[in-house]
């Protein structure tokens, strides 16, 4: 199916920013009908390259060619006119408008009168989505549908404008595994029709599942372009980080801890009758599909959402947590799953982000002691190996992996007894991912009870001392990682068949 010559080429692309060379003579090409994955650690230059290919920013050097002719992209609109469409990680949709209106933004079918022909628009939208295997009501507001469907709507919008090149930036960062498969079907059907797809993702398993070729960037430089069929995850990781991550997960050492956090018959808005125990020195893996009630459970424990019934015990004593401040005083911390929306203060410096949860620690009475704050920040930057220019650097200029580390550090500084980490490695590059895994492990080793909410099975299997699975608001299974297979965990996450196979 892959034709012999690439139709879209970027040669010797360079982009300079003050202080850094974001891209250094990078080459990239795309065949019709091909899925070409672009991988690299955060800060490797993927986003910059994508933005250049989409006409969002202009390169300082190098050329773009379409069908052998050099082209200039003045802005994203111009790129679209030339057949290049991009779908960003942050969706650009209007959730209150109908699905159809979202697909046909600016290109609504009009009738004789010059007014929008709504029936025609709804029908067309329905047909387009059906072709992708998504059956929905195109008149309904988009917010009624899942993130995955919204993603597909965004892709549909991009492609119905006769796109030949489709750029996808982390399309699965916010959706679950099953929904990812739905998205893949859409991508496959697009590539069958001849569209060349550039796929950026941190999730290497996805990259290997969907792509034909893989290009690796590191520190703004082109490292390799390989055929997916001829390479391995290890090889790609090696290109990405320049070192082998052979010990991807730290070794488990069966710590027998004492119960720290106990939840008894707890019910909240989206979960009911959940009982579980987190032990000191251990990592409790909490698995489930998106919407299984894991985040809601964590939010209730942390005092964000109300508890409807049941009780929470800390070190054997019943506690009442009315708001996050209560939980924090008791030594419970919660690292939210979306660092951008409710985790960090992106406009502020690294130091001020860390200060947010540690004002007490760095103050003498009412007054903040800058020396203490600097020292605390410096310690955390070194401990977590956060790559920043200085402590004043604004967080929005820092890569995703480093942002995630800052998010962790603002909570680690409190020396928590209980650390609940919600999707701790979402949207994080492999290098930072390994760092965060090591960190969770060390934290547990130092005596904390770690609860890790994750949708990534390798992480759950590799890191947890015990595993619990939630499904539709209920806790449906508990396992020891050595006694269970990935398939069994998934089976219990999607159905209620399995009951406590292990009573521990």
């Amino acid at each position: 199916m892959v034709k012999p010559t690439p139709f879209f080429q970027a040669s010797e692309i360079s982009k300079k920013y003050p202080g850094t060379l974001a891209l250094d003579r990078v080459n990239f090409d795309l065949y019709p009908g091909e899925v070409h994955a672009l991988v690299g650690e955060n800060g490797a230059g993927k986003s910059t390259l994508m933005s250049i290919l989409a006409g969002v920013i202009k390169p300082d050097g190098g050329t773009l060619q379409m069908d052998g002719n050099p082209i200039q992209l003045h802005d994203p609109h111009d790129a679209q006119a030339k057949g290049i469409s991009i779908v960003f990680q942050e969706l650009a949709l209007s959730p209150n408008m109908s699905v159809a209106e979202n697909i046909f933004t600016n290109s609504q079918p009009v009738g004789m009168s010059g007014l929008i022909n709504f029936n025609k628009m709804y029908d067309q939208a329905h047909q387009t989505m059906e072709a992708f295997g998504v059956d929905l009501n195109s008149r309904a507001p988009l917010r009624n549908y899942s993130l995955a469907v919204q993603q597909i709507v965004e892709i549909t919008r991009a492609t119905h404008r006769k796109a030949r090149v489709l750029l996808l930036d982390e399309p699965t960062s916010a959706i679950g595994q099953r929904e990812t498969e739905q998205l893949f079907q859409v991508i496959r059907s697009l590539s069958k029709s001849g569209v060349g797809v550039v796929y950026v993702s941190h999730k290497l398993n996805e990259v290997f599942a969907i792509s034909d070729r893989i290009t690796v960037l590191k520190d703004g430089k082109w490292m390799a372009t390989v055929k997916t069929a001829d390479t391995s995850v290890d090889e790609v990781v090696h290109f990405m980080v320049g070192r082998d991550l052979n010990a991807l997960f730290p070794e488990r050492d069966n710590v027998q801890g004492t119960p720290v956090l106990e939840v008894r018959n707890l019910s909240g808005r989206k979960f009911s009758n959940v009982s579980l125990t987190a032990y000191s020195g251990q990592i409790l893996g909490l698995f489930g599909l998106t919407g299984a009630g894991r985040t809601e459970l964590a939010r209730a424990i942390f005092g964000i959402d109300p508890v409807l019934s049941g009780e929470i015990l800390l070190e054997g004593r019943v506690i009442k947590v009315r708001h996050p401040g209560d939980a924090m005083r008791l030594g419970i911390t919660y690292i939210t799953e979306d660092r951008k929306i409710d985790g960090l203060f992106l406009e502020m410096s690294i130091k001020n982000n860390i200060a947010a949860t540690n004002l007490e620690q760095v103050s003498q009475g009412e007054f903040i002691n800058n020396r203490w704050l600097n020292r605390l920040t410096q310690e955390l930057v070194e401990r977590l190996q956060i790559k920043v220019r200085n402590l004043e650097q604004g967080l929005n200029h820092v890569s995703g992996g480093n942002q995630q580390k800052v998010l962790f550090s603002k909570w680690l500084a409190r020396n928590p007894k209980v650390l609940i980490a919600d999707e701790p490695t979402r949207g994080v590059d492999v290098g930072s991912k390994a760092d965060i895994h090591r960190l969770l492990y060390e934290l547990a080793r130092q005596g904390a009870a770690v609860v890790m909410i994750s949708s990534e099975l390798p992480e759950i299997m590799g890191l947890s001392d015990r595993i619990v699975v939630m499904h539709q608001g209920h806790l449906v299974a508990q396992y020891l990682p050595n006694d269970v297979t990935e398939d069994q965990i998934v089976a219990s996450a999607i159905s209620v068949m399995t009951v406590n196979s292990n009573s521990h």
């Binding site: 942390f302 964000i304 708001h323 996050p324 401040g325 939980a327 924090m328 919660y334 939210t336 929306i341 409710d342 985790g343 960090l344 203060f345 992106l346 406009e347 502020m348 410096s349 130091k351 001020n352 200060a355 947010a356 949860t357 004002l359 007490e360 103050s363 009412e366 007054f367 903040i368 800058n370 020396r371 704050l373 600097n374 020292r375 920040t377 410096q378 310690e379 930057v381 070194e382 220019r389 200085n390 402590l391 004043e392 603002k410």
Partner: protein, 333 residues
């Protein structure tokens, strides 16, 4: 103690006072710009008008600007948390009237009358704050509604007539000087200084920046977001009351129709001085400089006998140019 933790990273080393340095670097630029603009206005006016550079004029400017300055300090706090209050002008009028009525009609002691006015302001602030944090009404709507209601009460209880004949010894609060400095200015200066320092260095007021920076993240960081917003509104109500009472003392009468442009003027001054409607940035010092600059411009136009009808054009243009220039410079970076 310092040396116990050796700092390997050289970048962190010369950043001793980095909290202040950061403020200087990011916000100081705007404050510097305001200082330059103010000086430039003073120099130009000195050349253009013989009456400008003279102590009397400056004392008059200082007295006139003090009430707005007090309100600006509080409005600055509200803007930092990402809110604002349109009802301050109405609150100034009503609180002045409440105090005046307590003095003139009820013959209560002055301090009771002042407390009565302040309590009225605090109550208005409390209602604003509850509407925003509990009922979740947008600050624009909540304070717009309160602005209309409070103005209505002020007009209703007085039937539209000023409350006059406030005794001369109470007027000292608004008219008097201590070593040549107007009393309202001294009050404003002390409030501004304390709040500015606490906002830069105090951990309680520091939380305001987090609330304005990312409300959700602030809540998850254990910061009592609603309480902080509520208290900011109450503070603004109190500041408006104080401004209203001082003006009442200065004019020896409570005027129900006064202060109708104060809210927008103060917000404009704060924004010119570096605050953002989105919250999370700016300093009290900057906000005050913005308000000072606007007062100077008003004074300058009066001196140059520019018709008051045209004054609005200049004030509006300054607001748009100042914020526009800032947006432009940020985009370039």
């Amino acid at each position: 103690m310092e040396n116990k933790h050796s700092i390997k990273n050289s970048t962190g080393d010369n950043k001793k006072n980095s909290f202040l340095l950061a403020l200087k670097r990011t916000l100081g630029a705007r404050e510097m710009m305001m200082v330059v603009l103010i000086l430039a206005t003073v120099i130009i006016m000195t050349i253009l008008s013989p009456y400008f550079l003279n102590l009397r004029n400056f004392v008059a400017i200082a007295r006139g600007f003090s009430m707005a300055g007090i309100v600006a300090v509080a409005m600055g706090l509200l803007l930092i948390v990402g809110a604002f209050d349109l009802s301050v002008g109405s609150a100034m009028a009503l609180c002045g009237i409440v105090s005046a009525v307590m003095i003139v009609n009820m013959h209560l002691p002055y301090f009771v009358a002042v407390l009565g006015g302040l309590a009225t302001g605090a109550l208005i602030g409390l209602i604003n704050g509850l509407l925003v944090t509990r009922v979740h009404i947008n600050p624009l709507i909540a304070t717009l509604g309160m602005m209309t209601i409070v103005r209505g009460i002020a007009l209703g209880v007085t039937e539209g007539r000023p409350v006059i004949n406030v005794p001369g010894n109470f007027a000292w609060l608004g008219q008097g000087n201590v070593i040549g400095i107007p009393i309202p200015f001294i009050i404003m200066f002390v409030i501004a200084l304390v709040v500015d320092i606490l906002l830069r260095r105090g951990r309680t007021l520091r939380q305001l920046y987090y609330v304005g920076g990312n409300q959700k993240a602030a809540r998850l960081s254990g910061i009592p977001v609603d309480r902080i917003i509520l208290l900011s509104f109450i503070g603004t109500g109190l500041a408006a009351a104080l401004g209203g009472i001082l003006t009442m003392a200065r004019l020896t009468s409570g005027i129900p129709t006064a202060f109708d442009s104060v809210a927008l003027d103060v917000i404009a001054g704060c924004v010119i001085g570096g605050m953002s409607m989105a919250g999370g940035e700016g300093t009290i010092f900057g906000a005050l400089l913005g308000v000072v600059f606007m007062s100077l411009i008003s004074n300058a136009m009066t001196m140059l006998s520019v018709s008051v009808y045209w004054e609005g054009v200049v004030r509006g243009a300054i607001l748009i140019i100042a914020v526009g220039a800032d947006m432009f410079s940020r985009r370039k970076l």
